[in-house]
């Protein structure tokens, strides 16, 4: 049985955590078969003209330190299990931003034999940023949208292992070292 004071304590801690998360989200960037255009625009947001770091957003290397996954590309079959692996390595709560038309619907690569086309078929996506590629301003706007919705109390989506993707079984592929 929890006492009221413990509950109260938990609430405060949660509030604090949420506040910290919103003020400085750390992002990891994953390319699942994109043409590089989107990735370069994401990188450009870090550089002096756009400088997202002033908003507390930091792009860093390891999925284990990340709150937000910025994914680009139409999800090629080769990159698929990597994408899921990266997503699973991120600590909860985690959010996903899909950048570029490719990640939204496959974009120009729609109908190619080795792409899945929609990021949402694989992992739950919270924010879509359309454009081919989106301007850096649009990417920043997308991130701000996510932060806004977090402030309003958005909860992270549940991850369900995709099972309607042909030729792909998660159990088989992810039993290697993570």
């Amino acid at each position: 049985m929890r006492t009221d004071s413990e509950n109260y304590y938990n609430q405060i801690v949660n509030k604090l955590k949420n506040w910290a998360r919103i003020n400085s989200p750390w992002a990891i960037h994953f390319n699942s078969g994109s043409c590089n255009g989107c990735d370069i625009e994401i990188l450009a947001t870090l550089t002096p003209r756009y400088d997202v770091e002033r908003l507390g957003i930091k792009l860093q290397g390891s999925p284990r330190h990340a709150d937000v996954l910025i994914a680009t590309g139409p999800v090629t079959l080769q990159a698929l299990d990597r994408l899921i692996r990266v997503y699973e390595q991120m600590p909860d709560p985690k959010y996903v931003i899909a950048v570029g038309s490719c990640a939204l619907s496959g974009g120009v690569f729609d109908g190619c034999y080795s792409v899945i086309g929609d990021l949402n078929k694989v992992i739950p996506v919270d924010v879509y940023i359309p454009g081919c590629p989106p301007r850096p301003e649009a990417i920043i706007f997308g991130v701000v949208q996510l932060l806004d919705s977090l402030k309003k109390g958005k909860k992270p989506a549940k991850f369900v292992v995709p099972n309607d993707i042909p030729d792909f079984k998660l159990e088989e592929k992810s039993n290697g070292n993570n």
Binding site: I40, A44, P48, G73, V108, C112
Partner: protein
């Protein structure tokens, strides 16, 4: 002997590899600190573009092929368009050819600056990375004013181009070229005189002329080793017939030479752009071309920022091509990596990889250090980069 063999480690880099056009999985066998062997595995961003080309018509294919690579999208479209025009027996008007060259050179500037920044980042010189990317925005602005998009400009259409330049724009470009030239001079000074930077580049990863030829290196990587290979000069295409370029060559073949060659190419691009803006003739910018392309096969070569880009197009007389084959320059240059890596320190690998400019905008790849006796140890690309920087402190 077996004892000694056991002490060798295999260090796989990749393939989890955000942002590379052609993510490769490298396995470096290391003996202590020295790399003794290297292999490459490619194919993680395989999207099936070549096959998809066969199910779309020529106009649609252009938009698709531009998206092979987000850094050098214009040259892909140019190579394709030149091939198709040859098949159709159509010649784009001279003004269109000049604008194609203009866009290609602007793209080269943006690509080389991008690469320069990333390479500086790999060396641990982040200030330089920020400066170059700040200056790169100047070119991006030009490209955007010119075409409406920062990355995929879609300048080409079959039979010409769809954008035109006017006096106002040309004045703007000239002004920006002056600014960039000044900045490039500064970078040149940094690259050739900065002690710490030279420590990472001079005499490292030397690729001899013969090896470069043998391995089929292309672009700045080959030219830094003294191989005279530049499609713009060897087999001028499109507007390069009218506006010739000088080939930039260096004999040293080490990493420093690759920096110097690329920076010198920037000067050449500035010069060429100014010349085009001065001399461009008024006139039509496109001609009509039939939707059905006559039967035939054609090879089309252009010089991308990274080297020779090769297209093979086969038409069967319909609106859609029968076969399109693309060979990108990065692919040719992967071969040299395995060669230059051997005998060098693991700490040099990030720089060497960046040196061939494999569309290297990623810093987030996993490195796993495995050995027979020890449990595997993970290192990501960032870690390896830091390791390299620490090593040279």
């Amino acid at each position: 002997m077996t004892e000694a063999k056991k002490e060798k480690f295999i260090v796989p880099i990749g393939p989890q590899h955000p942002a590379l056009k052609e993510p490769g999985n490298f396995e470096f066998t290391v003996d202590g600190e020295i790399v003794t062997d290297a292999t490459v595995r490619l194919g993680f961003v395989h999207r099936g573009i070549e096959k998809a080309c066969e199910t779309r018509n020529y106009t649609q294919d252009m938009y698709l092929l531009e998206r092979v690579c987000g850094i050098c999208s214009h040259v892909h479209a140019t190579a394709f368009v030149l091939g198709v025009e040859k098949l159709a027996g159509v010649q784009a008007p001279p003004r269109a050819e000049a604008i194609r060259v203009l866009a290609a050179e602007l793209e080269r500037i943006h690509s080389h600056l991008l690469w320069f920044g990333v390479a500086a980042h790999e060396a641990g010189f982040d200030t330089l990375f920020m400066y170059t990317w700040r200056d790169r925005e100047v070119v991006m602005d030009i490209l955007e004013t010119l075409s409406g998009s920062r990355v995929h400009y879609s300048v080409n259409i079959l039979g010409g181009v769809k954008i035109d330049i006017d006096q106002k724009l040309s004045d703007l470009i000239k002004k920006d070229m002056d600014f960039l030239e000044e900045r490039t001079e500064h970078y040149m000074k940094v690259v050739t005189t900065d002690e710490t930077f030279l420590g990472r580049t001079r005499g490292i990863g030397t690729l001899s002329r013969d090896r470069a030829k043998l391995l089929g290196a292309v672009g700045p990587t080959a030219r830094a080793s003294g191989v005279k290979r530049d499609v713009r000069v060897n087999a001028p295409y499109s507007g390069y017939k009218e506006f010739p370029v000088k080939m930039v060559i260096d004999q040293t073949g080490d990493l420093e030479a690759r920096f110097v060659v690329r920076l010198k190419e920037l000067y050449e691009s500035y010069r060429l752009i100014r010349e085009i803006l001065e001399k461009i003739q008024p006139g039509e910018i496109s001609t009509r071309i039939k939707r059905k392309i006559p039967e035939g096969e054609v090879i089309s070569r252009v010089e991308a920022p990274r080297g020779e880009l090769f297209y093979f197009i086969k038409s069967n007389g319909t609106e859609m091509p029968d076969r399109v084959k693309v060979r990108t320059p990065s692919l040719c240059n992967w071969g040299t990596i395995t060669d230059v890596a051997v005998g060098h320190k693991l700490a040099d690998m990030p720089m060497l990889l960046a040196g061939i400019d494999p569309c290297f905008s990623c810093n987030d790849r996993m490195v796993e250090i495995r050995s027979d006796s020890q449990p595997s140890q993970m290192m990501n690309w960032d870690g390896l980069r830091k390791y390299g920087i620490e090593y040279y402190k």
